[in-house]
């Protein structure tokens, strides 16, 4: 095509020279015509030469000036607009009215005897609560808060916001440049304020101090081109002069340093040459054109639970040395257990045989599967489909940052079996033989069995990114609820084992009597730690599970679980499942309420919902139902069974800080 354009321009030049000749005569006309052609042609050649002489960009471009998304908009408007819709963009924002979803309309919130007051004054937002500095001070002195005298209150400005999808967390900037995360969080999904105790899975505690310092860790995954810049004063907590290229996750997070690209492409000759040469543009990173490992590094930077590998960092500025296209492992560790994370924290650089997750690991199940979000990379990397990045699959196989729904950013068509058929086409014709479920049912969707909802974070259960064959062995040893029993909530693990054996010839495991005879969901909710309880509590709210397991009995289990649940996040999921089963009949339940308030609400809830239930024991052989037909309380068996199992409950303190 370029040759055609060249010939066309030549033709135009000839016509022009002929015009000059006609007007000025042969000699003068042709000479002036040629001169006039040479002038723009020479200017173009000069532009060409300028860009041809540019050296290739260096591998380390961390010193380059950050480029804002506004600069990218000039040439990439559609990409800019699709990015603007994403929650990546609004991961961190200034506390301006257009970014605030939280209700600051003079709202009072009562929790643990403390009233917090959220207000707006013009374009500024405030939280008035216990002075976080006072709480910090008292805690540092080791004094019990109840003996420290009346807590002083303080009105704190809200200066930045983290999150816009599930939660909005409030940051207050103090005089040391620290952005302190405040104890009140707005839960966007429910449109309500909650105390931070309920926002993360962990034991409740009385604390209204700052709960994290954004400059310390949050800054690295929630912003683009972060530079921590700690200001050290001996004997004092550090201050910060933190800088970011852009708040939130912006273009440079995935495309690398853009300064050279922007500068080079201001030259129109460079742009034309790039458009039509078909060669890779060395001034910018296109994740789709990178090798799978390097492309996935970009996502793993924040979705891989990374920890800084300090020896490669500038100890003064703590500027993130990783930029898209570089080797992530050179600058960040990608741990596969909290134990491994601890080794790195203690200074170990290379861990020859990483320790497996411990029984209370807050990030990984015992079989190594990630149990919380921001570890999607590890899940994928442990999958047979991934083959250590040497296969075809990468994050971008199923996700697209620009052509997708902002909610989960899954590519069109990838929420169907088409995603798996692209590598496993053989299952297209034998789907039902493989799944033993109706072709149009949830049981025939590949990801429901191979990527079940075994991940907890943000008061929600999410799909596991470890694409795996569901094995009974893994659930027995790790406490990880089995994929089949996250849908068949009324069935036991023994039932699952029997069916898997018949259908797929899997080798049976030795199971306890309870595991064989009692519904797995009941065992998890009564006996297991809060990590398993959160997953099962969330599963009861999943419509395909309600369809498969029946809707006339779960409330018996969920209300009893609520009565004995000490984790606020699990209480929320239990109540949400009741609400999804019974709608407005569920009434109100404040999972952050006082024990008395909650007890009264559960009592009313049971009176309303349990009376009309008449679950049929024949349909639910793995549930301890005593009343099969006719009137009468059906819950007696549940109470006895639940009490028995509660005595063996393994309920240590666990924390999932996502």
């Amino acid at each position: 095509m370029l040759h055609g354009v060249g010939l066309f321009l030549l033709l135009l030049a000839v016509v022009f020279v002929l015009q000059m000749r006609s007007a000025l005569g042969a000699g003068r006309g042709i000479a002036l015509g040629l001169l006039a052609i040479l002038a723009p042609a020479g200017a173009w050649c000069a532009l060409e030469l300028t860009h041809r002489n540019e050296p290739p960009p260096p591998e380390d471009q961390t010193a380059s000036e950050p480029i804002s998304a506004q600069s990218c908009f000039k040439c990439h408007e559609s990409h800019y607009k699709s990015w603007q819709r994403t929650y990546h963009r609004t991961m961190t924002t200034e506390a301006a009215p257009e970014n605030i979803k939280a209700d600051f309309g003079n709202v009072l919130h009562h929790y643990q005897g403390v009233t917090s007051h959220m207000t707006q004054e013009g374009n500024r937002f405030f939280l008035e609560t216990i002075d976080p500095g006072w709480e910090e001070h008292i805690m540092r002195q080791g004094l019990p808060l109840d003996k420290a005298g009346p807590a002083p209150r303080r009105k704190l400005s809200v200066d930045r916001i983290v999150g816009s999808h599930w939660f909005q967390q409030l940051l207050h900037r103090d005089e040391k440049g620290r952005y302190l995360r405040l104890p009140m969080v707005y839960h966007i999904v429910e449109n309500r304020w909650i105390h931070v105790n309920g926002a993360f899975l962990g034991p409740s505690r009385h604390y209204f101090g700052q709960t994290a310092i954004w400059n310390e860790t949050c800054v690295f995954c929630h912003n683009t081109r972060p530079i921590k810049n700690p200001l050290i004063t001996p004997g004092q907590p550090p201050g910060y002069a933190t800088e970011v290229g852009e708040l939130g996750i912006s273009c440079e997070a995935c495309h690398g340093a853009g300064e050279r690209h922007v500068r080079a492409h201001q030259n129109p000759a460079r742009r034309l040459a790039q458009h039509y040469s078909g060669e890779a543009d060395l001034t910018i990173v296109n994740p789709a054109k990178l090798p799978v490992v390097r492309a996935d590094d970009i996502c793993a930077r924040c979705h891989g639970g990374t920890m800084p590998r300090h020896k490669e960092w500038n100890k003064k500025t703590y500027a993130d040395p990783y930029l898209a296209g570089r080797d992530l492992r050179r600058f960040w560790y990608l741990p596969y257990s909290e134990a491994e994370q601890k080794l790195h924290q203690d200074g170990a650089d290379v861990v020859a045989s990483p320790p497996p997750p411990g029984p209370l690991d807050g990030r990984f199940w015992g079989d190594g599967t990630p149990l919380t979000t921001a570890l999607e990379y590890q899940g994928m990397a442990m999958s047979a489909c991934y083959e250590n990045g040497h296969g075809k699959m990468s994050c971008l196989t199923c996700h697209s940052m620009h052509q997708s729904d902002p909610n989960h950013q899954v590519k069109a068509g990838m929420l169907t079996n088409a995603a798996c058929y692209s590598c496993h086409p053989g299952y297209r014709d034998k789907l039902v033989q493989h799944t033993h479920h109706a072709a149009d049912s949830a049981g025939s969707l590949c990801y429901n069995c191979h990527m079940p909802h075994q991940v907890y974070s943000l008061l929600e259960v999410h799909r596991s990114h470890r694409i795996s064959v569901p094995r009974v062995r893994d659930s027995v040893s790790s406490g990880k609820p089995h994929a089949c029993n996250l849908c068949h909530l009324d069935k036991s693990l023994g039932w699952t084992q029997e069916h898997l054996g018949k259908r797929y010839g899997t080798k049976p495991e030795v199971l306890s009597d309870d595991d064989r005879k009692i519904a797995s969901s009941l065992l998890h909710l009564a006996r297991n730690d809060a990590r398993s309880r959160s997953i099962v509590a969330g599963a009861f709210g999943w419509p395909p599970a309600q369809e498969a397991s029946g809707r006339d009995w779960p409330v018996l289990l969920l209300t009893r679980s609520l009565e004995h649940e000490r984790y606020e996040a699990v209480r929320y999921l239990l109540y949400r499942s009741i609400r999804s089963l019974h709608g407005t009949a569920a009434g109100d339940y404040n999972y952050q309420g006082t024990p008395t308030e909650r007890a009264n609400q559960i009592r009313r809830l049971r009176l309303r919902l349990e009376g009309p239930l008449q679950p049929d024991q024949e349909r639910y052989p793995y549930l301890p139902l005593t009343a099969t037909k006719g009137p009468g309380p059906p819950a007696l068996g549940f109470d006895e069974m639940f009490q028995r199992l509660l005595k063996t409950r393994n309920d240590p303190d666990v924390h999932i800080n996502e």
């Binding site: 015009q19 005569g25 723009p40 040439c75």
Partner: protein, 159 residues
Amino acid sequence: MSISTNDDVQALRRAMARRHHLFGWGALLLFLSLGGFLECLHGFKLGYYLDPDNKMRREMWTLAHAHGTLLALVQITFAAGVMQFGRWTPSRLKLASFFLLDGAILIPVGFFLGGLWPKEGDPWLGILLVPLGALLLFIGVALIIVSVLQDSDSAEPRP
């Protein structure tokens, strides 16, 4: 070089007026038709023209329509005025005429071609015709200004 007489220049002016009338009215017809075509694209809501991803095409073709129509009117104005004003030499008249015509062709055609296959924030290569056309149009207009200025300096008899 032959020495041109006043009659030669007058004859040339008449010829140029006719040429620019013909071109101007013809171009006006063409670019008004293009306007109608663009209206149809709006009317039938064709994604090729209206989708957000095709914003560059929409902009380029709108510019082609606007510039083509405006420059057609410039030709008609020149045709109507060339007999009325300016102190012309045959070469200057020929050059001004050529450059006005070149501008009126290259600019709208460049915009139109630029919108055919735009690439990521840039129009197609055809857009290169626009600066060339603009340069020629600029010189053509400058030549007209020179002729008008000289006309006021002298007492060339009007036809």
